[in-house]
Symmetry: C2
Subunit: 717 residues, 2 copies
């Protein structure tokens, strides 16, 4: 199976091609059928029923008219003078490469290949056909979506070029401000169906299959250019072209749209399953997380969470500072929602005296007026209690979000009155109003949604979605402070650098590295120690020397000339011909002993898909075991770095835990931001960098990297 993802060298660039895919002036359907049980039959039915206004040409086995349209038996027989933008190809796999080549030669600009039987089969035959198809693209310049895909739709233009059941009549899908782009056809259908009751409609829809040429990332660029689109739902098994995805996500953020992504393959087994499904390369899920976070893409864990997130992200209000007022008819629901609010980074609003007075005046004496408000079972006989509570919290200045949480059912409650009161509040206020209706599928959630009030059927789901909206708002605010890069010298060479050279390079980038001096013999080392003062650390430095500690090539706490001479001689002997160290040696590094408040670790890795990723975490074997690290994808802001450091489990160690002196956290933030901004990191010249440990000194005294392992790589083309 193929894992190559570079675009075929087509003549139509990505922006233009989404125009062809979503707004073709004319279409040819190759493999058309009059039988609605067949895929070619469904494609034609959807194209006609969808109201496609352009010209439709058909190629079919029999060449007879189908549904009132003429057909021919091959691409060659199509009218010579017809300009055809887009082809939809549904022939058996074996015929696809030749067909696509013929379409390309004829000037058709793009083909949607729905046929299966290519790389996804894991067979040699499938791989061969996929290679032939790629060659057809390369030769003729035609761009391809698929193969093994379910096609595209643009309900804003009456285009349905897909056989997905999404477009069967019973779903009643309408045009609206949401787009669904998916690497899986079934998942595209699922996400559309789950979102539908909660959004105004879906305009763009695409299932990209094997992504031989065009992928979700390419389509995203085209989709976010439409001002009518507010939210995009992605289903991803791999990131495809990460730079294209990043650019499209940035464009979405600039124009106030939100991209939601369900990325599967988060575990080792899931990643293997994804590999056999679409040929995706296994990828560290933490890198995917950092990449999506960097580009403002909000991640969902499962289809259900996606359907919950879209309810809040497809509407225009924000969660402000995340201060929630809870209006319930059940103390129990109030407690559950309070737990979930805290678990998802929200907090309960503290009501003003005025709000409390209004609540006391309007609610029964045995009601709870402190947040969470409990109007009690009295709601059975007094439906206007909800309105009383809503009026009070509507004017409360410390409230950003009003959550109406009701666990009621049956004919005992005046549901219509409660619905009307909540909808009326939503019209009067600028606050976000959310309903949590926890009592089975009585259709109330959908009824609120139909009136434009986001509604949830579960306590965790409700607070998780509001928490995500609040977090996204905070992140957008941080984006005003993205630092420019720091132009730094690009180092020569590739491969592991000696510790001496690594430290020189980092110091040259203006990063805080321990005062480390090179001596080439024992006397030189003693002289250097005299300059910097005992105690000192002695290390052997050379471009092939890693794991110094294990090899006895580091000695700390040397307190006098004699001890230094013994250690220096031992290390030079090890490096001499016949000694335990092979390879070139720079010499001996002499460094002052530095003691910090705590040891941290900072680093860079180069991910095959995402490129440079910066890492910050606690130091030591325990932190390593606990994976107490955070990843950040450049460009890295101070705010994001500070949040990442503060979110470390071991963060208290540098923040004055149990009477320790507080560490210089701001200097650590600057080190990470500065490192991420260097030309070398931004341009992908760093294959791996490990600053471990970075000593955090007391507040105001900075940080210092005492060990440096730097591996350089070739610049990206």
């Amino acid at each position: 199976m193929s894992t190559e993802r570079e675009p075929a060298s087509g003549s139509t660039d990505s922006t233009d091609v989404t125009d062809v895919l979503f707004r073709p002036k004319s279409i040819v359907l190759v493999g058309a059928s009059g039988d609605p049980a067949k895929i070619g039959g469904k494609l034609l039915a959807h194209l006609r029923d969808g109201g496609y206004p352009g010209e439709i040409h058909l190629v079919s086995k029999a060449g007879l008219p189908i549904r009132g349209l003429p057909s021919v038996t091959s691409v060659a027989e199509l009218p010579v003078d017809a300009t055809i933008d887009l082809a939809v190809v549904a022939t058996p796999a074996a015929a696809v490469p030749e067909t696509v080549a013929a379409l390309g030669h004829r000037g058709v600009r793009a083909a949607v290949v729905v046929s299966s039987g290519f790389g996804e089969t894991g067979t040699l035959e499938g791989a061969r056909l996929e290679e032939e198809l790629r060659a057809a693209c390369r030769t003729t310049g035609i761009r391809v979506l698929g193969p093994n895909c379910q096609g595209v739709a643009n309900l804003g233009a009456g285009l349905v070029a897909s056989f997905s059941s999404t477009f069967s009549k019973s779903t009643g899908l309408t045009d609206g401000g949401v787009a669904v782009l998916s690497q899986s056809g079934a998942m595209a259908a699922v996400l559309t169906q789950l979102a539908q009751p909660f959004v105004d409609g879906v305009r763009y829809w695409a299932a990209t299959g094997n992504e031989l040429d065009l992928g979700v990332a390419d389509l995203l660029r085209g989709v976010v250019a439409d001002p009518a689109i507010r939210t995009v739902q992605l289903y991803l098994e791999h990131l495809g072209s990460a730079p294209v995805l990043a650019a499209a996500a940035a464009e979405a953020a600039r124009s106030g749209k939100t991209v939601l992504a369900l990325k599967s393959g988060t575990t080792a087994s899931g990643s293997r399953a994804a590999g056999s499904h679409t040929g995706a390369l296994a990828q560290e899920d933490s890198v995917v997380d950092a990449f999506l976070a960097r580009h403002g893409v909000v991640r969902a864990r499962d289809p259900r969470e996606m359907s919950e997130l879209v309810r809040l992200f497809a509407q225009p209000r924000t969660a402000g500072e995340g201060r929630v007022a809870l209006v319930t008819n059940s103390g129990g629901l109030g407690v559950l929602l309070t737990d979930e609010a805290e678990a998802h980074g929200l907090r309960l609003a503290e009501f003003s005296p005025r709000t409390l007075a209004e609540l006391r005046a309007g609610l029964p004496s045995f009601a709870a007026v402190e947040n969470p408000i409990d109007v009690t079972a009295q709601l059975l006989s007094t439906p206007e209690l909800v309105r009383t509570a809503l009026d009070a919290v509507e004017q409360d200045e410390g409230t950003d979000v009003v959550v109406v949480a009701l666990g009621i059912l049956g004919e005992y409650y005046d549901l219509d009155q409660i619905l009307a009161d909540v909808v009326d509040l939503q019209r009067r206020t600028a606050k976000l109003v959310v309903v949590c209706w926890v009592a089975g599928h009585a259709g109330m959630v959908e009824r609120f949604a139909a009136h434009g009030v986001p509604a949830f059927d579960d306590t965790t789901a409700c607070m998780r979605a509001i928490g995500a909206l609040a977090r996204h708002g905070r992140r957008l605010a941080e984006e005003d402070h993205v630092p420019l890069g720091r132009p730094t010298d690009a180092p020569d060479g590739t491969g592991l650098q000696s510790e001496h050279r690594g430290k020189q390079i980092l110091a040259g980038w203006g990063l805080p590295v321990v005062d480390s001096r090179l001596a080439t013999d024992v006397d030189g080392a003693v002289a250097v120690a005299g300059e910097i003062g005992y105690p000192v650390v002695l290390k052997l430095s050379g471009p092939t020397i890693a794991h110094k500690t294990e090899l006895g090539l580091v000695q700390v706490g040397i307190t006098d000339d004699d001890a230094l001479r013994v250690a220096a001689r031992r290390m030079l002997d090890a490096a001499a011909p016949g000694g335990s160290v092979s390879g070139a040696v720079d010499g001996l590094l002499v460094e002052p002993m530095v003691a910090g408040v705590a040891e941290m670790t900072v680093g860079v890795v180069h991910d095959a898909a995402v490129g440079p990723v910066v890492m910050v975490g606690a130091g030591g074997v325990q932190a390593e075991l606990l994976k107490d690290v955070r990843l950040l994808v450049p460009p890295v802001t101070e705010a994001a770095t500070r949040s990442a450091i503060e979110s470390l489990a071991l963060h208290p160690l540098i923040d004055g835990y149990r009477g320790r002196p507080p560490g210089d956290v701001e200097a650590l933030v600057r080190l990470v931001v500065d490192l991420a901004g260097t030309t070398a990191v931004r341009e992908g010249r760093v294959a791996e960098l490990d600053l471990n440990p970075v000593l955090v000194l007391p507040r105001g005294q900075g940080v210092v990297a005492v060990d440096v392992a730097l591996t350089l790589r070739e610049p990206d083309r």
Copy 2:
């Protein structure tokens, strides 16, 4: 507000009283009304409509007949010769204590008080009324459920003594094998409603309100005694009487029933909210977790998860070894479910060659036959592909659970055929068959459930529930190995013990404590050091001395007599009159220096509700920060202890991480099990015990506690 929970000294014990509550031979409704908008009207309507076969007496304001039944205006006017088992009281709060006292004097055995306006209001008046009500119970021996509760029902006996909308006609609730017991009325309604489509029916239902006397735990004892009950759903804001709950849960486990619990107040804010709702004391959620786990209670996070768990726990099949076969029509769904299987402790079955051959023979060439199976979009035209896949996995010996995961919708699929095939498989096989139908609320989940096939509408939910079932099965197997207690001497005294005495006590219990010897003067210390050999550790021991390290009262690594004399003199000076240490002193402890593979910590705390809780975790400040500890409630099995230790994030440190010698994990397990089994711990004599560190020696060499801080408490009455 009251936080007391001890039962009023009633004459009817808990087992009998559940009989009165759930199977009363006659009832009086105090506060009856003919107006269905009033609570007293709903109570009467439910009692009549539910078909209650016993005698019904009414007390009402007007004393006129209601719904064809006579009524009187006070308890005193009730017929003298009538034997009345149960009263339901719905008068204003102020009249309740007097009414309940009159009922008690009359010989009524129990009262369900639905009236609000007691402790839950947080007012002095409410607290006073609650105290008066308690006095009425104490004086007359009547038992009370409530106040501020929504009542009880037993659909197996035609009893509905509740005004909850659960029992309004539209819900159509029927009798079945589930019980719902809740500290919140609305949550009882919610849990019932959410479970209903997925279970055969609900027999017992109770909402216990303020739990002045009887609580969920008391009712649970009565409910699990009914052989028809298979599953109990609890909603808890506090544990109530933990011993009663533990005993009832044990009885449930013995009779093959499962208790599911939704316990709220998991966060600090939620716990505060619960306090103002029901007067619950704040409680560490980790202790609640350990308590529920110990007693085989399966915990749900939210109402939705409760409704998902009951689908699997209300049916008889197990998840075996948790090896799952996935049959999907979507590679994407397969990947998502594979991720979730791994995340929830399950694994994908490895199909036998025979299974693979059957799948290859029956499925399209481009289908995926390795687990997860993807029958592909070909299902559109070939509905029998699901059956083909099911037939193959049904006979697969490495498969315990078959998950059919379909993301399909609309009229394109033969849903009836697929439903019939899955139901047929379920009838033919003994394996657990589960459906994951991820495509909106098309009613398919409920259709499968109606045919007895547990079904879910989400990937995470499906695997989370199966994972819980598999875990519960493993836990039940472990229960065969609950150790008996270890009869050990009960120590005298209370309060913090000196380190010397603490070590003597633990050594007396047969636990591995460092060889620690007491000297009373400098010469004595030197003599002891001569016996055990240098290097040694010196400590000052006394019953009021804590935090020795901070006070300089511990010195490690003493290598000779001179250094020992200096240290000993310094410590004795500190303990002399006018020195820095006040309080009595035992003397000087001299101990050998011991080095372990890693430092762990083991301890005991006495929780106010739960009693003794044993703790095991990694040692050191990092582990402390990371809360890398596990709690276990006695009796503690070896298997549970081993699982707890293996689940520690820092477990690799004692398991041969990066070339370290593997530690004696089994000795650590024995220490925890033995400690938990001591008479003193089991009988609640240990207020707090801190063995920190416990050094883990290389495998086969044991563990040794080097610091001991033991605080004893009075025995429980």
